[in-house]
Amino acid sequence: MKTLRTLFIAIILMAVAPMTAQTADEILNNYFENTGGISAWNALEGTKMIGSANAQGMEIPIEMYQMKDGKQLLKINIQGQEMTQYSFDGETMWTTNFMTMLPEKSDAETTDNMKKNVGDFPSPFLNYKEKGYTVEYLGKETKEGTETFKMKLTQKPVMVDGVEEPTVSFYYFETENYVPIMSESQIPSGPQKGQMSVSNFSDYQEVGGLYFPFSISMSGQGITMKEIVLNPEADATMFAFPTAVEEKIEDKK
C-alpha cells in the first residue's frame, strides 16, 4: 500500500511538472495532493514535533505541539531543564521568563493577534477561504537557486503597537514538486519592522501518509525534526497558564 502511494506521488509529480499556466488554487491543490491528500490533511487533529535547534555545537532539544483548535506550545530543554518557550491555550498566551524561570502572560496585543490567526494548523493554506484568508499567485521566482511559484498569503489583520496592520507573507512552492521551500513574512515590529523574516523548508518526509519538512531554517537558525507524531495525546492543562503560579502571584498582591 505504501509503495503504491509512493509510486502514485512520483507519478503525480511527473505529470504535473510540465504544466505551465497555474492558478493559486491549482498550486495549492497539487501541494496538498502530493503531500498526502486534502482529506488526510483535514483529518489531522494535531502534531507533536520532536527535534532540536542546532547552533554551532549547541543542540537544544525542542518539543512542539500544534493542535487544530489553535492550542500550541514550544518546549525547550536547556541543561536538563525543560521550559516552555511559549504556549497558547486558545485564550491565554504565555512565555517563560528566562531570569526567573517563571511563566508570564504575553501582552494583550500579542495574545489577540495569536487568536486572530489560530487557523494556521496544519497549514494556513488549507481551506484558506473558510478562514477568511486570501491567496494570490504572483508568478515564478528563483529561490534557493530553483524555480518556484511565489504565493502571497493575506491573513487577518493584526494590531501592531496599537495600529491595525495587514498580515502578509509570501510562500515559494518549488515548481518541480509543489511543496513550499521558503516563506517570507514581514517582521511586524521593532527596528527590523517591514524587513523579511525568511524560513526555508527541506527534507520532506512521510509520516502516516503526510509529508512534512523535517528540516526548517528560521532566519538562519536550523531546526531538525527527529520525530513527528500525528494526533498526539495532549492534555488541555499542558497549554494552560500554570495555575499554581497564578495563585502565587495573587498571594503577593
Binding site: M58, T100, G145, G194, D203, S215
Partner: protein
C-alpha cells in the same frame, strides 16, 4: 527504507527529463546559490536624498527616495529606515502614496531629478499594491530616465498624472505630463513642449483635482557643460484635468526662464509660491500669487532663494499655515512671513533637496540632504541626522593588505574616508576615519608605509596624509614655467605603482609621475586627450545661472593603469575617448583608440585594467551616458591594444552602462563588471554574464577592487556604500565538469582559527547602521546540482578517525552553498539543577588538523576534507596550546562526569520518592537515602533561586563549569591561577565522589537490598555512555 525508495524513484524520474549531454548554463541566483554580498555602509555620512514623502494620516510612516540607494521606509516616525526597493533601479525621482489607500499603494518614479554632473539614471515607473513588499513596473515609462512627479486624484485613484523630466544628456520625446484614467493601464502625454523640455514639477490643487500646475524646464547636460533655461521653460495651469494648459506668467519677466519650482498652500488653494530662474538676476527667486496663478508678485532674491536652481528647486508649505514656507538650498531656508523674508535652517549637511513637515506637528521637520535625512523638533533650528541610512556615494574605492583589510574611498560631497572591512561588533560609524575634505574621489594607500593619498574635486588639493604622525602635505602637480594650464578631471585619476612603493601617478591632460610620493613631479607624456577646445570653456556652463564648479572639466585623462607585470607598461584612458599605451615608461605612446571597433567616437574611457595574465592584456570599459548612450561597453586586448574584442553579452541589461571591471588574478575567465545597474559576473571570459543580486541591489557600481589575500570583491557603490562579496574563490572552480556533478565541494585553503577576544560596545546600535563582519569561521562550500527538498540531508563534521565532532546545518540550495563552522565541538552535558550554568554553554575549539565533512544526501554520502590551523599570532607556544587542550578535555570530562553523578542521584531519589509515596515497605530506607543524597546534591548543584539577582551561591557545578569555560576559551597558556583553581575543584570533586560512594555503600546498599527483597524494582539508571549520547 521506504523514504530512500521514494527518493530513488524521484531521482530516477527526473534524470530522464534532462539531456545529460546538454551544456549546463546557470545564471544569477541559480549559480550563486547562497553566496551573499555584505553591505558595510557607512551611514556615518549617508548620501543624497532626492525626495521625502509622508504618509497622509499615519505619522509613524515616512519614505525617503534616494539619489542612488533606492527607497527607504521608516515605520517609527523617522527614527530608523529600512530599504524596500532593492530589486529595482536605485536612482529615485519621486515617491508618492495613493491618498485613497496610502498603506498599500506606493508609486515610485525613478531617476533622480536634481541634475548634477554625477547623477545616475532611472528605469521607469513602479507601483506596489502591498505596502512595498513587491513592486511592479508600470508600462509606458521605459525611456523616461527621470520622473519628477506622480500626482493622484484623491477622489479617484484611477486618475493619475506623471511628470517626466526625461533625458538629461540628449533629446527625447519621452517628456512632459502624462495622464491615465484607468489606474495606469494606459497613458496619454497631455503636455509636451519639445525634445529638450521636461516637467520639473506637477502639482494638484488640494481642493479641486481638475486644477493642475506644471512647470516645464528646458535643460541639457553634456560631459563638458550644462545649460539651464530657454524659451520653452514655462509655468502652466490647467483647470480641466489636463485637457488644456495655459501659461500663467502675469508679472514674470519676459525672455528665457530656467528651472521653476511651484507649490500650492495645502490650507489655502489660492496661494501659490514659485521660484524662478530668469535672465534678469534681480527677478530671480521667490514669487507669490494670491489668486491661484492669475498674477504674480516678486518677493525675494536672497542667496538661499536663487542658489543653483537645477539642484535646489523645491518649495514646501506648512500644511496648516500658508505663511510658513521652506525652500531647499545650500543651507535650506525658512520664512514665517509669507515669503517676504527668510533665514537659514539650522546646521545640518549642506545641499537640501527636499523638506517635509510632520503631518500633525509643524515643529517637526524632515530634511533630505546630500548627506542623508535629518529631523528637527523645534521648527527647523536644530537638526539631528538619521543614523541608519547607508547611502554613501563612492566614486572610487581601494583596499590595503592589513588584517582585517581597510577600505578607502571618496564620496560625493562627503570627503574621503577609510574604515575596516570587519570590526569588533560589526563595522560601526565610529570605525571610519576622515582623510580628506570636499568631494572625495580616489583614495590610495601607500603600498608599504602608513600613508594615504586623497584628493578633492579637480585635484584642487591632493593630500598625502601620514596617519601615524597625523601630518598632511598638499602635493598636487602644479604647472611650472612653460607648462600649459593643467586640465584635471573633477574626479582626477591617481595611481600607486605596483613596482616602486614611493612612485605615485596623477594625470591631467598629461601623465605626471613622482618618485618621491608627490614631493616633485615629472610629466611623462604629451597631451593624451583630443584637446578639443570646444569642450574646454566651462566659465559659461550652467545656462541662465552660471554654474562653474569644475564638475564639467573635460578633455582630461580619467584612468591610469600600470601593468602589474612590467612597470614600463602604462595604459591611460581619457574622458573624451582616447586609449593610449606606453611600453617604455612614457618615452613613446601609442594611441590605440582607432582599434576600438564598436565603440562610438569620444566615449568616456571609464576604467582600464592592466591584466596580470599577460603583459599585452588589458580590459577597457567605456561609458557613453554623458552623450546619451547608456549601452554597456567592455573590451579586451591581448596585444597591447592593436586588436580588441567585446566581452559584453546580451545578459547585461541594455541601459547598464559600465564604469569598472575587475579581473580575477587566478582565473583569467572570471571577471566582475561594475555597471550602473549593479554587479555582473562572468565565469567564461565574457561569453555570458550573470547579474549578482544576493543581498546586492542593482546599484551603480563605480569601482571594484579585489583583496588578493582574502579573495574578496570590494565594490564602491554610488548610493549604497561599500558592498563586499566575500571570498569569490569558488567561482574560479566552476566549469562544465563541476556543474554536471550532483555534489561538488570547493577547495579551500587551511582555515586559521583566529584567537581574538576583544570587546565590542554596542552603544547606539539601536538606531545606528552597523555593517556585518566577514565570517571568521571555516567556510564549507559546495555546489548542489539540484535543490534538496525530499528526503534526509545531513552534514556532520568528523575527525579523521571518523568520530563525530558535531552536526552542522547544511544549505540545500541549488548552486553554491556555504556552511560556516566556528571550529567548535559540541558543548558538554551539564548536571541538572535549579538554574543554568553559563559555563556549560562553552564549546571547546578543535585542535588544528584535518577534519572530514560528511554530507549525507538520501542514501549517498559525500566526503570532503578541510584543514584548520592555529593563529600565527597566538600568545602560546604549541606545547602550551596542547596543554590547554588537554586540560580543557579533562575539565569537559569532569563536567560531564558530574552531570552523570547528579543524574544517578536523581534516579535514585526518584525511586525513593516512589517508595515513600506508596507508604509501604522500605519507606524508612528510602527516606534515609533521600536525605543523605539530597544533602550531597545541594553541595553539587544549585537547588534554589533564579538566573538573575535571586541567584543562589554557586555550588560545585557552577564553579566547575566556570573553570571549564575559562580554560576552554583561553587563548593564553593555562597558568598559575587557573591551575591552582583546578587543583581545588578537582580535590573537591574527588571528595564529593567519595561521599557518594560512602552513601551508596551504606544507605544505598540498604535501600537496594530492601528494594530487592520486596520486589519493588531497582532505580533505572542508564549507562554513562547512554546518558551522554545526545542524539
Amino acid at each position: 527504507m521506504k523514504k530512500i525508495f521514494i527518493f530513488f524513484l524521484l531521482a530516477l524520474t527526473f534524470s530522464f527529463t534532462g539531456n545529460a549531454q546538454e551544456e549546463i548554463s546557470l545564471k544569477g541566483k541559480q549559480l550563486f546559490g547562497d553566496m551573499r554580498a555584505r553591505q558595510i555602509g557607512p551611514a556615518l555620512m549617508s548620501g543624497r536624498i532626492n525626495d521625502l514623502e509622508s504618509h497622509p494620516t499615519n505619522p509613524r510612516i515616512i519614505y525617503a527616495g534616494t539619489a542612488g540607494g533606492g527607497v527607504w521606509k521608516s515605520n517609527d516616525g523617522g527614527a530608523t529606515f529600512a530599504p524596500i526597493f532593492d530589486e529595482h533601479v536605485q536612482s529615485i525621482g519621486v515617491v508618492t502614496l495613493d491618498p485613497t489607500n496610502p498603506d498599500q499603494n506606493i508609486w515610485v518614479g525613478t531617476g533622480e531629478t536634481w541634475t548634477r554632473n554625477s547623477v545616475s539614471i532611472g528605469d521607469g515607473l513602479f507601483k506596489s499594491i502591498d505596502g512595498g513588499a513587491n513592486f511592479e513596473e508600470v508600462p509606458g515609462f521605459e525611456n523616461s530616465e527621470r520622473i519628477t512627479s506622480v500626482v493622484i486624484n484623491p477622489k479617484n485613484n484611477q486618475e493619475i498624472y506623471v511628470g517626466v523630466l526625461g533625458a538629461l544628456w540628449g533629446d527625447s520625446t519621452d517628456r512632459g505630463v502624462y495622464k491615465t484614467t484607468d489606474g495606469g493601464a494606459s497613458w496619454n502625454n497631455i503636455l509636451y513642449v519639445g525634445p529638450s523640455t521636461g516637467a520639473s514639477d506637477v502639482i494638484m490643487d488640494p481642493t479641486n483635482p481638475n486644477i493642475l500646475y506644471a512647470s516645464m524646464w528646458q535643460f541639457r547636460r553634456s560631459g563638458w557643460g550644462f545649460n539651464s533655461g530657454g524659451i520653452n521653460s514655462a509655468l502652466y495651469k490647467s483647470t480641466n484635468g489636463g485637457a488644456s494648459w495655459d501659461k500663467i506668467h502675469t508679472g514674470f519677466p519676459t525672455g528665457q526662464l530656467g528651472r521653476i519650482a511651484v507649490a500650492v498652500a495645502p490650507s489655502d488653494a489660492s496661494i501659490l509660491y514659485a521660484v524662478l530662474e530668469t535672465e534678469d538676476k534681480s527677478k530671480n527667486g521667490l514669487w507669490k500669487s494670491l489668486n491661484a496663478g492669475k498674477s504674480w508678485e516678486h518677493l525675494n532674491n536672497d542667496f538661499g532663494l536663487v542658489v543653483r536652481p537645477f539642484y535646489f528647486s523645491r518649495i514646501v508649505i506648512d500644511p496648516k499655515n500658508p505663511d510658513i514656507v521652506l525652500k531647499g538650498g545650500l543651507n535650506g531656508s525658512i520664512s514665517r512671513d509669507g515669503g517676504a523674508t527668510f533665514k537659514n535652517l539650522g546646521n545640518m549637511h549642506s545641499d537640501i533637496h527636499d523638506l517635509a513637515f510632520h503631518i500633525n506637528d509643524s515643529d517637526m521637520i524632515f530634511s533630505g540632504t546630500d548627506g542623508g535625512v535629518y529631523r528637527s523638533w523645534n521648527g527647523g533650528t536644530t537638526f539631528e541626522i538619521v543614523e541608519n541610512l547607508p547611502l554613501s556615494q563612492f566614486y572610487h574605492i581601494s583596499v590595503d593588505d592589513a588584517v582585517p583589510y581597510n577600505v578607502y574611498g571618496g564620496l560625493q560631497d562627503n570627503g574621503s574616508w577609510y574604515g575596516p572591512s570587519s570590526s569588533p561588533g560589526g563595522v560601526n560609524a565610529r570605525d571610519w576615519n576622515s582623510v580628506g575634505y570636499g568631494d572625495g574621489f580616489r583614495v590610495l594607500k601607500h603600498p608599504t608605509k602608513n600613508i594615504v593619498y586623497s584628493e578633492m574635486q579637480g585635484a584642487e588639493n591632493v593630500w598625502r596624509y601620514d596617519i601615524d604622525r597625523n601630518r598632511t602635505k598638499t602635493i598636487q602637480p602644479l604647472p611650472k614655467k612653460g607648462d600649459p594650464e593643467l586640465r584635471f578631471n573633477w574626479n582626477a585619476p591617481m595611481a600607486v605603482s605596483n613596482h616602486q612603493p614611493d612612485r605615485f601617478y596623477m594625470a591631467s591632460q598629461f601623465l605626471h609621475v613622482s618618485e618621491n610620493m608627490g614631493d616633485s613631479w615629472t610629466i611623462i607624456s604629451p597631451d593624451l586627450t583630443t584637446n578639443d577646445k570646444q569642450k574646454q570653456d566651462q566659465s559659461k556652463s550652467g545656462g541662465l545661472s552660471v554654474d562653474n564648479s569644475g564638475a564639467e572639466n573635460h578633455t582630461t585623462i580619467f584612468t591610469i593603469a600600470e601593468s602589474p607585470l612590467d612597470e614600463k607598461i602604462i595604459w591611460i584612458g581619457t574622458d573624451d575617448g582616447n586609449v593610449q599605451v606606453t611600453t617604455n615608461a612614457g618615452e613613446s605612446w601609442s594611441n590605440v583608440t582607432a582599434n576600438l571597433t564598436g565603440i562610438p567616437a569620444n566615449t568616456w574611457v571609464y576604467h582600464i585594467e592592466a591584466s596580470i595574465h599577460g603583459k599585452g592584456t588589458a580590459y577597457a570599459v567605456f561609458d557613453g551616458h554623458t552623450m546619451g548612450d547608456m549601452k554597456p561597453y567592455a573590451m579586451k586586448t591581448t596585444d597591447y591594444g592593436k586588436t580588441w574584442s567585446s566581452i559584453i553579452s546580451k545578459d547585461i541589461q541594455e541601459n547598464a552602462f559600465v564604469r569598472n571591471i575587475q579581473e580575477d588574478y587566478v582565473n583569467e575567465d572570471l571577471l566582475f563588471l561594475g555597471t550602473e545597474m549593479g554587479l555582473y559576473v562572468t565565469i567564461d571570459g565574457g561569453k555570458g554574464w550573470s547579474h549578482f543580486t544576493n543581498n546586492m541591489p542593482p546599484v551603480a557600481v563605480h569601482f571594484i577592487d579585489m583583496q588578493k589575500r582574502t579573495n574578496d570583491i570590494v565594490m564602491g557603490t554610488h548610493g549604497r556604500g561599500v558592498i563586499i562579496l566575500d571570498d569569490i574563490s569558488p567561482l574560479r572552480e566552476l566549469n562544465q565538469d563541476v556543474l554536471s556533478k550532483k555534489v561538488h565541494f570547493f577547495k579551500t585553503n587551511p582555515f586559521t582559527m583566529l584567537e581574538e577576544s576583544g570587546f565590542a560596545g554596542s552603544f547606539g546600535a539601536e538606531t545606528q547602521f552597523v555593517g556585518p563582519n566577514k565570517s571568521t569561521a571555516a567556510r564549507i562550500i559546495y555546489y548542489l546540482k539540484k535543490r534538496h527538498t525530499f528526503g534526509k540531508m545531513t552534514m556532520e563534521l568528523q575527525d579523521m578517525q571518523g568520530n563525530k565532532v558535531l552536526s552542522l546545518n547544511p544549505g540545500k540550495s541549488k548552486g553554491i552553498n556555504i556552511v560556516d563552522w566556528n571550529f567548535n565541538t559540541a558543548n558538554p552535558k551539564m548536571a541538572a539543577a535549579k538554574t543554568l550554568s553559563f559555563g556549560g554553554f562553552t564549546s571547546p575549539r578543535v585542535p588544528q588538523g584535518q577534519y572530514k565533512v560528511v554530507l549525507k544526501k538520501g542514501k549517498q554520502t559525500f566526503e570532503h576534507i578541510i584543514e584548520t590551523k592555529y593563529d600565527s599570532n597566538s600568545l602560546t607556544s604549541l606545547e602550551e596550546r596542547k596543554e590547554q587542550e588537554a586540560l580543557t578535555q579533562t575539565m569537559f570530562n569532569m563536567v560531564e562526569d558530574l552531570a552523570y553523578l547528579v543524574y544517578k542521584i536523581g534516579q535514585i531519589q526518584q525511586k525513593a520518592n516512589q517508595v515513600i509515596a506508596a507508604k509501604g515497605k522500605a519507606t524508612k530506607e528510602a527516606q534515609k537515602i533521600l536525605t543523605t543524597t539530597e544533602a550531597l546534591r545541594k553541595d553539587l548543584v544549585i537547588t534554589s533561586g533564579d538566573n538573575y539577582v535571586a541567584t543562589a551561591e554557586p555550588e560545585l557545578r557552577e564553579r566547575m563549569g566556570a573553570l571549564y569555560s575559562n580554560i576552554a576559551t583561553s587563548y593564553d597558556r593555562v597558568d598559575g591561577s587557573l591551575k591552582s583553581n583546578f587543583e581545588l575543584i578537582n580535590e573537591e570533586y574527588e571528595r564529593e565522589k567519595a561521599r557518594f560512594q560512602k552513601i551508596m555503600a551504606k544507605e544505598g546498599k540498604k535501600f537496594m537490598k530492601v528494594l530487592e527483597k520486596n520486589n519493588l524494582g531497582m532505580p533505572s539508571i542508564k549507562t554513562k555512555k547512554e546518558f551522554l549520547t545526545k542524539d
